[in-house]
Subunit: 516 residues, 2 copies
């Protein structure tokens, strides 16, 4: 057993002590400046233990392809909550689903209950694209050749260091920030101002398929006055941020059929339709250069932004020119700002495969072309309405739609055949930014940050806020902490340490300084 494991045990023991204290004492608030300083002090003396906790969680391979890794992670999280005095259980509404890790801790005298949501599953990995193994966390300094042996490092960690690994930022950083904030509060004598509940989901990256059924089954257990969603990155300006909604999503894979066998493109090119080219037509029929979806009536269900929402977007720090440099792009798709553009629905291409390129190319007409796409939805679109509009539009454009590979008769009867394989999807949500609870959350975040925080009416990315809204009808507000440049959903996902440090302070404030 190494030094880090010992540290981990130390933290857990502290948590147990705190849990006992918290249950026995009534809530009180501390001045925000004191709180911030004390949390910082705690963090500064526990950096290696906090990073060690994150590294341990990353090393548990909690991805959909690895059910055992998901189960092990759920068990570990349940243990971490129990060690801190939480009543902790695993909730399932369906056999085989990755369980929801649920925890609850009452605060004597508290009149409000807040759920802290996060997810412990990560996106799939393509290891060949990673610089190091996705589930073996590596700290890098950002300097050339800069792997950092943080386990033996003496002194404070450079806050610009980043820990690389799948789910390090999406979304295990939020879980670790919650745990460290809770420990820091206990260590410095602060008590929660609210009753705390924890909902840590295990299939967010698989469209949260069972989350709503689970919440309905355990509705009484999970009831609360506010849900804080610990997921997604902060603003690209690195300002801390709150978000009040998220776009929905709907994935679909389109397989466009060409000839039954690959054909010599000299003998048959110009006469046999080429599915790779049909794929290009398919995409340009659906979407134009500015990202506008060309389906008539596609925007019929779109709810306009409120004045508060429009204001919030206008007040976001400008990031566009810096992002263009960071991403190496010479233009954006529209002249709108980034956040304004993500208030609209989107159609994204995740990948295309047809025939062969590079050294494996042959002068052949491919047999098919596969396009993986996802729609991003805004209120009040629904997956069903989007699917219906897409299918109706494609039929009108002359596509024959099938749901499995077409038989010969279907091929012969059709000018263009596409198989659509729809994924489960979900709708968007925008929470009112002007309610008393929203105002209180904004005020607490501002006190913690020490300055204005970025307020985003709706994230571009998707988290299943609507599932919660439908069951509980209470405000759902996003509390992101991780860096925007974290490669989430791609290779070399990483977490910048300063974001974790700031996140711990923000979580501590939401647990002990929030009231309305």
């Amino acid at each position: 057993m190494g030094r880090d494991e010992e540290r981990g045990i130390g933290v857990r023991r502290l948590g147990v002590l705190l849990g006992v204290v918290a249950l026995a004492t009534s809530a009180r608030a501390a001045p925000a400046a004191d709180l911030k300083a004390q949390i910082q002090q705690y963090r500064a003396t526990h950096e290696a233990a906090i990073v060690g906790q994150l590294a341990e969680l990353v090393s548990l391979e909690s991805v959909a392809a690895n059910p055992a890794g998901l189960a092990a992670t759920a068990d570990r999280l349940q243990g971490l909550l129990r060690a801190r005095g939480f009543e902790a259980t695993q909730l399932s509404s369906s056999s085989g689903m990755p369980p929801v890790v649920f925890g609850t801790l009452k605060t004597a005298g508290a009149k409000r209950t807040v759920v802290f949501y996060a997810h412990y599953d990560g996106q799939p990995v393509t290891p060949s694209q990673w610089r190091s193994e996705p589930f073996t966390p590596v700290m890098r300094s950002g300097q050339p050749g800069g792997d950092v042996d943080w386990k033996t490092f003496k002194g404070h960690f450079d806050p610009e260091w980043r820990l690389f690994g799948r789910a390090a930022s999406d979304d295990k950083a939020s879980i670790v920030a919650f745990l460290a904030a809770f420990d820091a509060l206990g260590s410095s004598g602060h008590l929660p101002s609210v009753n705390i509940k924890v909902v840590w989901e295990g299939e967010e990256e698989a469209n949260s398929t069972h989350l709503q059924a689970t919440l309905r089954q355990y509705e009484a257990l999970c009831t609360a006055d506010l849900w804080l969603i610990g997921d997604a990155p902060v603003h690209q300006s690195r300002h801390q941020m709150l978000y009040f909604g998220a776009r929905g999503n709907l994935g679909v894979e389109a397989t466009i059929y060409g000839p039954l066998r690959a054909l010599h493109d000299g003998h048959y090119g110009n006469w046999v339709p080429n599915p790779a080219f049909l794929a290009a037509e398919f995409l340009t029929e659906l979407r134009n250069t500015e990202g506008k979806i060309l389906i008539p009536g596609f925007l019929d269900d779109v709810r306009a932004l409120s004045p508060a929402e429009r204001n919030a977007i206008a007040e976001l720090p400008p990031v566009e020119e810096a992002l263009k440099r960071e991403f190496g792009i010479g233009r954006s798709e529209t002249t709108e700002g980034l956040s304004a553009s993500t208030m609209r629905p989107a159609l994204n291409v995740r990948g295309i495969r047809s025939g062969q390129v590079g050294a494996e190319r042959t002068n052949s007409i491919p047999i098919d072309a596969v396009i993986s796409m996802d729609f991003r939805l805004v209120p009040d679109q629904t997956p069903a309405s989007v699917r219906a509009k897409v299918e109706s539009f494609l039929r009108a454009k002359g596509w024959t739609l099938v749901s499995e590979p077409p038989d010969l008769a279907t091929r012969l009867a059709s000018a263009r055949v596409v198989q659509l394989s729809w994924e489960g999807g979900y709708r968007a949500l925008r929470t009112d930014m002007t309610t008393p609870v929203a105002t209180a959350v904004i005020a607490t975040a501002t006190r913690s940050a020490g300055h204005h925080v970025a307020l985003l009416p709706m994230m571009g990315g998707s988290v299943p806020l609507y599932l919660i809204d439908e069951v509980f009808r209470v405000p759902v507000i996003g509390l992101p902490i991780v860096n925007h440049d974290n490669n989430q959903h791609a290779a070399n996902e990483n977490l910048r340490l300063q974001n974790l440090w700031d996140g711990i302070e923000m979580y501590a404030a939401m647990m002990s300084d929030l009231s309305w």
Copy 2:
């Protein structure tokens, strides 16, 4: 040493005997009907040996990725020619190139010399796409489960059987048909009517890069009155065929650049340009649904068809409805017939790769999109003129063209960046169908087939006819033998035995019955 190897030796010994006889005796012609019957008789008693010869050549892995396989094949072919009395050598104009196998055999009293061209290299393979190993020939009956153990089979082979393997039909069948025809002529006492030369190339599938330099270096050795090109498939109606030209080609790989790293498509979709979608735009800017290339002036260099050429196309047996059924396609790109459509230039997409599809998909904007394409050229287009028109058009459409991955400054200064990697290409050729030699070849082919043969002014596929034309300025006529449905350039390439049998008769006729 197995039974087949013994058969092979038997055939070679016969060839040696024939070679000696041929060199010692003057030419004489036999009536076409007698010739045909005698060649058929020879073939019927040597089916296993002939197929064995083809199987042996297929098993030599003569593809560009395997220089040793190319060299072994050249050595073997040289040996096969020498065993038949040919003076045979290997010609090279550049170190490291796959050699041209050259053979010559004089016919006493003959006033004409004919070169029989073929190529011994095959297309690259993607073994995972093949039903069996590409270089382990397998005979199949076309019936379910129908692998045939032809080596131990007693009796005549079913002419609908097919031998599967890379280069079985493209183009080793032509080589085997030549050898078997030569052996059959000798066995039945027929003598050549012309001096015979053989040019068997080893880099046709790699654009015949060194062929012209080699022909120039050995111009005196290779001089002739006619070149017969044993490559490409016969007409889709299964009629035997001659062709009088071939389209040229020009390959290019386009890499379209997106962001420097993959980005979450929820947070950045609609704002960061998606290279997979840019690839779709790129293709639809270049080409429309009917296969028309949209580059202004692209057809400026296109020479109109002559009346004889238009007539020949009009007289081709109709195949379009049968091919649609065979290929499982509901429409053709144009309402022209197949052969009329391949008289025009073409732009084909060989493959596209961007991001990920299927289970490996992530909700990301990919970093790039790669499109592999080839142009098919017609007289009097040249690769240089096509390349210039494409590049000029793309620049006018707002693409920044680079020849290697762009640096950051280039990315930031460009709305759309594409890297073009051009392959070597070559121009098309059409030989006059009305000259005396063309007339004689048509007459000989007609006598051999016993009925009219299909006459194609220009093949859709590319063979380097122009290289020969430029050096020798003599007629170049295509003598294809293999089935059209042979999967050449794709997985599961195959040769239908009846085509090989017919091809042997056609080769025998061209060697012993041709005069002008």
